[in-house]
Amino acid sequence: MIERLAFLWPEIALFITTCVVMVVGLSRSTGVRRLSALITAVGLAAALVLAVATTPKAGQFAPADGQTLFPDLPVFAKTLFAAVGLLLLPLLVGTVDRDDEREIAAGRRAFDPLRSNRAEFYAFYLFSLTGLMLCASASDLVWLFLALELTSLPTYVMVAISSRRHRAQEAAVKYFFLGALGAACFLMGFAFIYGGTGTTRLNVIADVFAASGINPIALAGLVLAVVGLAFKIAAVPMHFYTPDVYQGASPSVAGMLAFVPKAAGFVSLILVLGTVGWTHGPGGESGHSLPESLRVILWVMAALTMTVGNVLALLQSSVRRVLAYSSVAHSGYMLVALVAGPGDGSAASNGLAAVLFYLLAYGVMNLGAFAVLASLVRRNPKDGSADEIDSFDDLRGLCATRPFHGWTLVVCALSLLGFPPLLGFFAKVPLFTSGIAAGEYTLVVILGLNSAIAAFYYLRLVQMPLLEKPDPTTPVPEPVGVPSRTAAGLLSAAGAVVLIAVAGSLFDQAHRASRDPRTVAPARDAAGEPPAAPPIAARPE
């Protein structure tokens, strides 16, 4: 156990930061309280550095420790989570107790630790990211379950405290109950897997499956686990909560919800499906795929998730609901690559790398869209109250009136649409190539059709700010007073452009991260090839 602690330096750093922030956030001094965001950033930066520096690579494991299914996954995933977490932080700044702090600054009220929730907010954010990182290094079903819950539980609270309005509380309650239902589902699935295989260790489960096949109990467990995890990624049929929660929460927290639980869900899905391996069925050119029953339900989920997400997004007038449904659709896109699996060893056929790279791209570019919504308010001319912008009409002519926000939205929407040559395009291509390589032609066609449908609403997000004239009768949206959110949006838009330059090498990293040495080993033994064989070779069945 001590040895495994050595793999957890980033999580440990985040935990320590969490404790510090919890204390600092309750300080009587305004200046010290203000430090919480900075300390959070430092903690995340430290986690980022530690994730790169201390996570062992493949080959650095002692034999007894080689327990994780994808030995190179943690370093990539943790680096990715810390980096996107750092980007999300400026968006989350100022979500809670801004009004309270203003009153305190004005001297109207004294500081009341019972009313202040700044400490909780950052601490819960860090907790959630800690859980996310723990998911990536999970080697055991129990560990995985706990990590998933550590990711999710803080987000329920964050939704609740993100806004003083009742809708936030309503959203949090919905999110919590439905989340509990989802968790129950995959917990039951984990229990069934344990029942079917007699172990909770992922690599042992994989060995059992490889040695004696998948018995019905374990299969039921896998199905339950997959469906339960679908809640985390907001896939059909567990997607119902998405629009209500995204709209109820403040846009900054909604931006976080679009990434953190989704990332946890996909990493967990990769690990759970990794126990089975993409080596059972007939498949396409690679000659392998998931067992037929799992392939079919993932196939159905992917097709439905894309389609339902996109067609419902078409009908919305609220931008936040559009982004919520599009988040559902993006999960569907990634499920296509998950069905395809790791492929035949070439980067283009590696669906798992496609998923990981898409997570990165989605995390970067989706952030900008939410940042624009979070950083502008529309003031009601009658009573002077300020509402967050949420309708398409609010975006009219934004490129002229608020060029930074307008252009951020244009670039991010185009990137989310997969418009070449932006990052979203380079992220989407591997989804297609891996699907084709795995022979999932129908699914790829559905993916293509859905990308076309998505163009309809994403292009509205381009057209409204860029091509429409500002409406002179309504007031121009005002900045919300948290400049870091605008900065987060600009960073996101810049990322969607700049990361193109390194997209190739980032994808190579993702490709390497999704290697499963177990699937290499038998092939090597059988063919007597040297250890330097292609990363993922087919396991003869």
Binding site: V173, K174, F177, L178, L181, G182, C185, P216, L219, A220, V223, L224, V227, F231, V236, P237, M238, F240, Y241, P243, D244, E292, S293, V296, I297, V300, M301, T307, V308, N310, V311, L312, L314, L315, I453, F456
Partner: protein
């Protein structure tokens, strides 16, 4: 003489080989120039700063090329910039195929010859344009010079690239810059139409070039010259041995496709009609792009891939006949036009025909030499016409201008024009144009006598229409009428209403006040008090330099063993392939034997192959052609003198007018440009217009209907699904549980099936 092996065995190693490094400065400097001009536009610079920046960048490029030439002479070098495209795939036969194109330069004497005059003339013409475009100072000025620099960058890629793909990049780049600069006055509909016409006409040719490059890759497995020539060597050997049948049919298609590209870019039949219209652009653009450099890209392409052109027994004859026909056709049109800039445009088309014919009659030396001399004198002619246009408020009609020679301030222009005309007409001995034209004519009579006769007739016509312009505009009684732009109305398309008045009429210029309009003059703008605006120092300097240069290159045409210096540059490049002991095939294909190019006309030379050689009326063309062509040129000049100068008393009429009725409909047809435009319009544009309208109806009714249906389906589906989002917690939970149950049923169905 360089052997074939030396030319072909080019080390394809990476890095910049010694001596070639400076060439990399050219793209860097020109891109820098583009960028700086763009910045000037962004900062709304109103001065001549972008012009000086451009002149500096272009002069730097010229110096870099000149230094490279001084260093390398006739040697070959590769300069590897960076890896541009490199990917491999498994071909249909299971073998790995690599598509590689580096941003690398292939420097040999042919490249250097082209780059020397491209960068040299670009520098001079940028200097000229600094004054010529001064009425437009501001963003338009910056835009002009940005495109100007970008043009030279593209031209550098085209000429120096070590592979066909980089050539293609440059090819499209110069096309784009040409489009941008023709359409410079973008508020004038005729300029926009001309720009579109040039672009679309070039697309047709570019399709041929693209297909040719693709076929080259498919057949030779590479687009790099070094590799292509290496792989083509067995074919050349087969040619030498006379084994025609060993050359695959596919290989002989490549030159035909490349040729189509060359015809488009170099304005040959049937794709020449864009070039006269391209004169809508500012004159410096006409001089640089549409006379001296870009339009010779087709000649360069054929010269560069000359070994490939030898592989087809029809490609070069087609080139020859197309070139000769274009030369004659354009010359006849030029004889009947009145717009002096348009006459020069047709003469460019005509001279390009000469160059193609030169290439076709196995004389790439003649073709390239003529490109070189033509670049100088045609640029000079255009710049002189531009000075006239600039000074007389856009007046270009030779019936409304006369006797400029005697007007103060116009001496330099007149002399430059005279020098240019003498060159174009091929005035014997003292002009470079005479010597380069002569090479082509002689070789034409040797190898393709039919082409030779057409070219000889064209030479006479050329001398006539050239001096028709000179005698009408610069000699005779002094008379002028200003052009449209004197009103200060928006002829140049910039929104500034009095921009031209300031620029032309009321410019406080020491030379700006010519004599009052002569008594005989009929001034339609009486009372407007028009003063011609004589050119300033920049224009005069450039014209003087060019005039001197065009004489300075005469000795270059006479020295060395390969038809002068330019010929030597060609003979040491891949274009000299045919000199390597050809026999058999070429003989069969072109009806002549091998013959030695190591002679000049001034020397005795022995043709030791006494076989069926084309002759000129039974005489050896090499010996008599300089007398014949000289006499023909002088005859043309004499005809122009008799018809357009002797006894002429007014600007509008001359003796030639009496001849027009005698010629019957011919004169009208020539003036109507043989109605080629109308023919294309009826044959292609109108039918396309009709088809497009039919498709428009189909599009609106059927395609849009389908698209709307497709758009309606997701919405309808969404409408069906929408009630599931009730916002009710228990509804969602039930949905989740139901979905789970459904998925479990699917699993059961799949497993139990």
């Amino acid at each position: 003489m360089t052997t074939t092996t030396d030319i072909l065995t080019l080390a394809a190693a990476g890095g910049i080989e010694p001596g070639a490094g400076l060439t990399m400065l050219v793209p860097v400097l020109t891109l820098l120039g583009t960028l700086l001009c763009g910045l000037c536009a962004a900062f709304k610079v109103k001065s001549k700063l972008p012009a000086w920046l451009s002149v500096a960048c272009l002069a730097g490029s010229f110096v870099a090329i000149a230094a490279t030439y001084a260093d390398l002479g006739h040697q070959q070098r590769l300069a590897h910039g960076f890896e541009w495209i490199n990917f491999s795939y498994t071909g249909t036969d299971g073998q790995p195929v690599t598509f590689k194109a580096n941003f690398a330069f292939y420097i040999d004497s042919l490249t250097l010859l082209w780059m020397l005059f491209v960068t040299g003339l670009a520098t001079l013409i940028a200097l000229y344009a600094s004054e010529y475009m001064s009425h437009d100072q501001g963003t338009g000025y910056c835009r002009f010079f940005a495109a100007f620099n970008l043009f030279v960058f593209s031209m550098a890629c085209l000429v120096m690239g070590d592979n066909l793909l980089l050539l293609y990049l440059g090819w499209e780049g110069v096309g784009l810059c040409s489009y941008l600069l023709i359409g410079y006055f973008y508020t004038r509909p005729s300029a926009v139409a001309a720009a579109k016409k040039a672009f679309i006409m070039n697309r047709i040719g570019d399709l041929g070039l693209a297909l040719g490059i693709m076929l080259t890759f498919v057949h030779f497995g590479s687009v790099e010259y070094a590799v292509i020539f290496e792989k083509a060597r067995p074919y050349i050997d087969a040619l030498k041995a006379g084994h025609l049948d060993e050359i695959p049919l596919v290989a002989s298609f490549i030159p035909i496709l490349l040729m189509i590209g060359a015809f488009g870019k170099s304005a040959q039949l049937p794709l020449y009609v864009w070039l006269p219209d391209a004169m809508e652009g500012p004159t410096p653009v006409s001089a640089l792009i549409h006379a001296a450099t870009m339009v010779t890209a087709g000649v360069y392409l054929i010269a560069r891939t000359y070994p490939l052109f030898l592989l087809s027994d029809v490609a070069l004859p087609i080139v020859g006949w197309v070139g000769a026909s274009t030369a004659l056709l354009a010359a006849t049109i030029g004889m009947a036009q009145f717009d002096i800039k348009r006459i020069m445009a047709y003469s460019t088309v005509s001279q390009l025909g000469y160059m193609f014919a030169g290439l076709a009659v196995l004389s790439p030396v003649g073709g390239a030499s003529h490109v070189f001399t033509h670049a100088f004198f045609k640029a000079m002619l255009f710049l002189s016409c531009g000075a006239v246009m600039h000074g007389f408020a856009g007046q270009l009609d030779l019936r409304k201008l006369s006797g400029l020679f005697r007007m103060p301030g116009w001496k330099v222009v007149s002399v430059a024009m005279l020098v240019g005309c003498l060159n174009l007409a091929g005035f014997p001995l003292i002009t470079a144009g005479y010597w380069s034209k002569d090479i082509i004519l002689a070789e034409a009579f040797v190898n393709m006598p039919g082409v030779g006769w057409v070219l000889l007739i064209t030479a006479g016509l050329t001398a006539y229409y050239t001096f028709r312009v000179f005698f009408r505009v610069f000699m005779g009684p002094t008379h002028y009428e200003p052009g449209d732009e004197v009103h200060g109305h928006d002829a140049h398309g910039h929104g500034d209403a009095h921009g031209h008045d300031h620029g032309h009429a009321h410019h406080d210029d020491p030379h700006g006040h010519g004599p009052a309009v002569t008594a005989t003059a009929h001034d339609p703008h009486a009372g407007h008090d028009f003063h011609p605006h004589a050119p300033g120092w920049a224009i005069n300097t450039v014209l003087a330099v060019l005039a001197l240069a065009s004489f300075a290159i005469v000795p270059l045409m006479l020295t060395g063993e390969h038809h002068g210096w330019a010929g030597g540059m060609v003979e040491h490049s891949s274009a000299a392939y045919h000199t390597v002991g050809t026999s058999g095939y070429l003989e069969a294909a072109h009806g002549h034997g091998p013959h030695d190019h190591g002679h000049t006309h001034g020397h005795d030379h022995d043709h030791d192959h006494g076989q069926a050689h084309g002759t000129f009326l039974g005489m050896d063309p090499h010996k008599v052609m300089y007398y014949v062509s000289g006499v023909v040129g002088l005859l043309g000049i004499a005809a122009a003198f008799w018809l357009h100068l002797a006894g002429r008393t007014s600007a509008a009429s001359s003796r030639a007018d009496a001849l027009v009725p005698a010629m019957g409909p011919l004169a009208g047809w020539a003036r109507g440009k043989w109605f080629v435009d109308e023919f294309y319009d009826a044959l292609i544009v109108k039918p396309l217009w009709v088809i497009s309208h039919i498709f428009h109806v189909i599009d609106t009714l059927i395609v849009d209907g389908l698209v709307n249906l497709v758009g309606w389906v997701p919405r309808a589906l969404g409408g069906v699904l929408r009630p599931s989002q009730s916002g009710q917690l228990h509804g969602y939970a039930a949905g989740m549980a139901g979905g789970l149950a459904l998925l479990l049923i699917i699993v059961l169905w799949v497993t139990l099936r």
